[in-house]
């Protein structure tokens, strides 16, 4: 796994101060600042444990969890006694959230259980040299790199374009004309899952490198990464790359010259203000602004001319028709039969349960009754991962197995014998897709 570029661990201690505790080999200082902002470590609440984003040519896959302090005794001391929140980020140049997300979750678990970076470093180096390592006594191997195509098409395009109806053709036009697009969503998991489908609109370019999945719109980000990317300066990392045997190479669809284009996602209210026309749009950075909450698309002032006449162009009308039809088909194909309705309800319940703290979840389980939880557990374990993926609860969970484990843990019949050192998210025993 030679393409791993680095690892960074941030901690927020009980005094409220945040530090970059450890980084291997090193992290540029501007990037450190940006990682800190994006990792929600200073936010009031951690919205999602796992997120990924990009700065210049480095993708970072970040896991942020709050450290539990109960369940320890004199025999099993607390590994991180003075720490409230830990954020572990893995840096690579390749986009594959499934693979690297798996790895970073494993590394974060190692750190949380051990409390010492050298253990994390050992796993990291072993992963780099050979594509596997040992985790909790068992061999651990992340999903292979050849599955990158699966990760590219993980979210179907109609999930992004469906709710827009006919306006989806504006998104298509924006993708083809390499515009800089800002996408707002109210929650990070929704944003990440929908934004990664955007390059499917220009699939012939095979370019996922123009994505900046989660951006906090800080000035540093804008000057160092977003503006060069949008203006197509040389060195802005928005040309496609692939992972070759010698490292990261330019992809087959890369033009020899710098190209423009940028798709960034954010959950900050600055984006809402920009869409209303209130914020400042430095140097015409954002040309198209998309709101996934209200399903509206707003064009910047100077760009409306480029989008004129779309409704008259027969090519665009055809594209709009295709997108609408696809959305209709998907809607019809969504299951109406009671089994899938059961599934949907079950996963919906799971997604509501997971963010609760353990005590609250236990209370809910107690009130719902053992039968209900058992039934839920049975349903979730019975149905396959691929079916589970349809319900888009991925980003609220670490892993599918997490839900199973969670439900199993909720079931009062399965009480763990040793103190449960798990965090608000539960870590499964075996990792793998």
């Amino acid at each position: 796994m030679e393409e791993l570029e680095g690892l960074a661990i941030f901690e927020k201690d009980t005094g409220g101060a945040t530090h970059l505790v450890w980084a291997f080999p090193n992290v540029p200082s501007a990037f450190e600042q940006i990682l800190r902002e994006r990792s929600q470590i200073n936010a009031d609440n951690i919205e999602t444990p796992f997120l990924f984003s990009k700065w210049k040519q480095w993708y970072h896959y970040t896991v942020t969890v709050s450290v539990p302090h109960q369940g320890f005794s004199s025999e099993t001391p607390d590994p991180l006694p003075a720490v409230d929140i830990v954020s572990v980020s893995l840096l690579t140049k390749i986009f594959n959230p499934e693979r690297y997300g798996c790895v970073v979750k494993m590394l974060s678990t190692v750190y949380l259980e051990g409390g010492r970076p050298p253990e994390v470093l050992a796993s990291y180096l072993r992963l780099m040299a050979t594509e596997s390592c040992r985790f909790r006594g068992e061999p651990f191997a992340p999903p292979p790199a050849t599955d990158q195509r699966k990760s590219l098409i993980r979210t179907p395009l109609v999930d992004l374009t469906g709710p827009f109806g006919g306006e989806a053709v504006l998104l298509w036009h924006a993708a083809l004309t390499c515009r800089s697009v800002l996408i707002y969503a109210p929650s990070i998991p929704q944003l990440l899952s929908l934004l990664r489908a955007f390059p499917l609109l220009a699939f012939h370019r095979q370019n996922w490198e123009l994505l900046r999945p989660y951006v906090t719109l800080s000035p540093t980000e804008q000057t160092t990464d977003l503006l060069p990317c949008a203006h197509g300066e040389a060195g802005a990392a928005n040309t496609p790359v692939v992972l070759g045997p010698g490292g990261v190479l330019a992809g087959p669809t890369a033009l020899g010259r710098p190209q423009r284009g940028l798709v960034a996602g954010t959950c900050s209210p600055i984006a809402k203000a920009l869409m209303r026309g209130e914020g400042d749009n430095p140097q015409g950075l954002w040309e198209v602004m998309v709101d996934l909450e209200t399903h509206t698309i707003v064009l910047a002032d100077g760009i409306q001319g480029a989008f004129d006449g779309i409704s008259q162009c027969p090519l665009h009308r055809e594209a709009a028709k295709v997108l609408l039809q696809a959305a209709q088909q998907v809607k019809q194909a969504l299951p109406e039969d009671p089994q899938s309705a059961h599934l949907a309800t079950s996963f919906h319940i799971c997604s509501k349960l997971i963010p609760l703290s353990r005590q609250q979840a236990a209370a809910v389980a107690a009130s719902a009754g053992t039968e209900a939880i058992k039934g839920l557990h049975r349903i979730v374990t019975k149905y396959s991962f691929s079916l589970f993926l349809k319900f888009q609860t991925y980003y609220n969970f670490f892993d599918f197995h997490e839900i199973c484990h969670f439900l199993g843990a909720l079931d009062p019949a399965n009480h763990p014998s040793k103190p449960n050192r798990n965090c608000t998210g539960i870590y499964s025993r075996s990792w793998g897709s």
Partner: protein, 768 residues
């Protein structure tokens, strides 16, 4: 037919003074008429008018500037515009150096190329307005118009300047050969003109002698020497650095004046060109030379004037040597005079010459300095060049080495297993990347360590300096703030809870359905109790009338008149007492009146009548009472019937509810997957034997649909597993059903739709 535009024509320089550079813009044909010193264009025929206003304006502008090709109608607008611009560029004397060959109907690419060249020309002519090639190619007239305006303006300016220059040139040229005819005043330079001309002419080579035996000169140097001597120049093969003044003392030869002149002329040359040498050497050589010269001179014929006439030298020499002595004397005298006069001029000339020498010396020094500098630069450049070449050679060598090693390694690799080789590559890469990472990590760690130690030092210093008060004060302030906030929040929370409590109290006041039902049952209970008590008490004082039954007593036997013997009750006794007193009163009155009536006959009739009326009244009263009783009875009967009907409906309702409940339970059991099987099994089992009252009804619904559909009764007499009293036909069952208001039956008055509701209730097969 469109005009074919000729190819490139160059503007040549007219003369050295007014140099125009070459401008090759091959769009317009320009002929330079040098005779008139003015530019004349070959115009063509009139242009066609074009569509747009701006284009018209552009065309007018170009035409006013002098580009008359714009008026040619057959040319394309692109041609005119671009030609006009190019012409203006040439007209403004810009050094533009490119070739553009123009063909008719250029393609877009060619147009763009031409446009780019035009823009280059504009840039070189420092045009402040910027345009794009696409604008020219696309003939964006509004954008091109200001540019063309500027160009035309510049062309005009340049042309006026040129005109001025040419006029001056013309005047100068004229003034060279001719004088102005009238009124041209001789300026101060005119007065000195002859003198200046003389001075200048002084230095023209003049042939003084002519060598007689012209063809018989032995060798070249001698030839040269003689030729030069003819012109009065003595050449000395030895270098002579003597000054003009010093020279003048060593003259030897026939004409001292000549020698003077020669030496003067030579002296300046010598000082200008040669170095100074030892004078003795020069003197010796000089003497020798003089001898040779004297010899040569002897062979020459003296004569002023350089005109080489066709007159034979001998005749001329004869003529001239006729009076050579006189001539010589006169020439000497003249020479003396000239010398005297020229001494002065020579002095000044010498001074002037000296000044010029000094000037030239300075120039020489400057040039030599520059020479030195350029030499240094050259050396430096040379040094760099050599260094670069060396480096290049080194790199080349190294590269060759590397390629060689690479090939060797590749050759070595060829033999080995490719997988292993690949793996080795990977491992080597990995190793190197690990080393690099380690290095970077160490560096980073050191930096961080330094930073952290610095921070620790700072904090310790702060601690030592007691700056923690600041921190503590800040913390205290935040604590106070937070506690205030907490108090506010608590107050708000309390308010909210109070509101919530009030609302919940209000909500609780509204009774729910369960409570209402409970109230209702309680009320009903109370009412019942009160009613029973009332009835009880009523019984005590009231006479229980047959039509007057308390409500909640159980329904008695069918309304057959039973003898009711009740003890007399208070009200009845009271009534009886009333009646008896009435009767008693009547009888007493009767008795009284009867005794008096017996005595007198007048009173008997009224007495009889009163008796009759009394009896009639009493009978009437009795009749009315009986009528009332009959009415009451009737009413009672009617109510009784209604009551029975309602009770029957209530009973049937309860029955239906019970059945419905059963069916719901069945449904629940069926929908619940755990118990579904048993429920289905229970269904398929034969039902519990129906009740006796329903027995005649239950089997009949089975054949009932069949006869309803018109079939014969298949199970009429067959061995169907139905109970035996089945074959009773429907009317019989109906008869059995209708008079019996058995509560187990559905409501009685429903003869026709009987088959339908029964399957729903009795034999419902959920699987059908």
């Amino acid at each position: 037919m469109p005009m074919v535009i000729p190819e490139v024509k160059a503007l040549r320089a007219s003369n050295g003074r007014f140099a125009r550079r070459r401008a090759d813009v091959g769009l317009c044909r320009v002929d330079f008429d040098r005779r008139n010193n003015d530019r004349v264009l070959n115009t063509h025929s009139i242009l066609m008018a074009e569509a747009t206003e701006v284009f018209e304006k552009i065309v007018e502008l170009l035409v006013s500037a002098g580009y008359f090709r714009a008026r040619i109608p057959a040319l394309s607008p692109f041609d005119k515009v671009v030609g006009g611009m190019a012409w203006c560029i040439t007209a403004s004397n810009v050094d533009v150096d490119f070739d553009v060959s123009f063909q008719e109907n250029p393609k877009i690419g060619e147009k763009i190329k031409i446009a780019e060249n035009i823009i280059e020309g504009l840039r070189l002519s420092k045009c402040p307005l910027k345009i794009q090639p696409s604008q020219i190619q696309g003939l964006d007239y509004p954008k091109l118009y200001p540019v063309i305006q500027w160009l035309v303006k510049r062309a005009f300016e340049f042309r006026s300047a040129e005109a001025r220059n040419i006029r001056q040139n013309a005047e100068a040229q004229f003034g060279k050969c001719f004088a102005a005819p009238a009124g041209a005043p001789a300026g101060p330079e005119e007065l000195g003109r002859p003198f200046v001309e003389r001075v200048l002419k002084n230095y023209f080579p003049r042939r003084a002698y002519k060598h007689k035996p012209f063809a018989r000169l032995p060798e070249e140097t001698v030839h040269i020497q003689t030729t030069l001597l003819e012109y009065g120049r003595q050449t000395r093969l030895t270098l002579d650095g003597a000054e003009a003044g010093a020279e003048s003392t060593q003259r030897a030869g026939p004409s001292a004046a000549m020698q003077d002149r020669i030496s003067a002329a030579e002296g300046e040359q010598a000082t200008a060109a040669r170095k100074k040498d030892a004078e003795e050497q020069a003197q010796a050589a000089l003497a020798q030379e003089e001898q040779t010269i004297a010899l040569l001179m002897a062979g020459m014929v003296q004569g002023e004037g350089a005109a080489e006439g066709k007159v034979s030298t001998s005749s001329v020499g004869a003529l001239v040597t006729l009076e050579t002595e006189a001539i010589r004397r006169a020439a000497e005298a003249y020479g003396e005079q000239m010398r005297q006069s020229e001494a002065a001029t020579r002095q000044s000339a010498v001074a002037a010459q000296r000044q010029q020498q000094e000037l030239l010396a300075k120039q020489l020094a400057g040039l030599q300095g520059r020479l030195e500098q350029s030499k240094q630069k050259v050396e430096a450049g040379q040094g760099r060049l050599t260094a670069a070449q060396q480096a290049r050679a080194e790199h080349r060598a190294r590269m060759e080495q590397l390629t060689e090693t690479l090939e060797r390694l590749k050759a070595a690799e060829e033999g080995a297993d490719q997988r292993i080789v690949g793996r080795l590559h990977q491992l080597v890469r990995l190793n190197e990347s690990f080393r690099e990472q380690e290095r970077r990590f160490k560096q980073h760690c050191r930096q961080q360590l330094a930073a952290w130690q610095g921070r620790i030092g700072e904090l310790e210093a702060q601690l030592a300096a007691g700056a923690e008060d600041q921190n503590a004060a800040a913390l205290r302030a935040t604590l106070e703030q937070e506690t205030q906030r907490v108090a506010q929040m608590r107050a708000a929370l309390a308010l909210r809870t109070r509101e919530a409590a009030a609302l919940s109290r209000q909500i609780d006041e509204v009774p729910t359905r369960a409570e209402l039902i409970q109230y209702q049952t309680r009320f009903v209970e109370l009412f019942d109790r009160m009613a029973t008590t009332l009835e009880e008490t009523r019984k005590h004082f009231n006479c229980p009338h047959p039509g007057h039954r308390p409500l909640l007593q159980p329904r008695p036997d069918p309304p057959s008149l039973r003898p009711h013997h009740h003890p007399p009750v208070y009200n009845a006794l009271l009534d009886r007492k009333g009646y008896l007193t009435n009767e008693l009163g009547q009888l007493q009155s009767l008795q009284r009146t009867f005794e008096t009536a017996l005595k007198s006959r007048n009173l008997q009739k009224p007495l009889l009548e009163s008796f009759q009326t009394a009896t009639a009244q009493v009978q009437q009263l009795a009749g009315r009472m009986e009528q009332r009783q009959a009415d009451e009875k009737r009413r009672h009967d009617a109510l009784e019937e209604r009551y029975t009907g309602l009770v029957e409906t209530q009973r049937s309702y309860f029955k239906l509810v019970k059945l419905f409940q059963e069916e719901c339970d069945l449904n629940e059991r069926l929908s619940n997957p755990a118990t579904a099987a048993e429920a289905l099994a229970s269904l398929r089992r034969p039902r519990r034997p129906p009740q006796q009252a329903a027995a005649p009804q239950a089997p009949s619904p089975a054949p009932a649909p069949a006869p309803a559909s018109g079939e014969a009764d298949p199970l009429g007499g067959g061995g169907a597993p139905a109970p035996s009293p089945r074959p009773s036909p429907r009317p019989a069952s109906r008869q059995v059903a209708s008079p019996a208001p058995a509560p187990a039956q559905p409501p009685a008055p429903r003869p026709a739709p009987q088959p339908q509701p029964q399957p729903q209730e009795a034999e419902y097969d959920p699987l059908s």
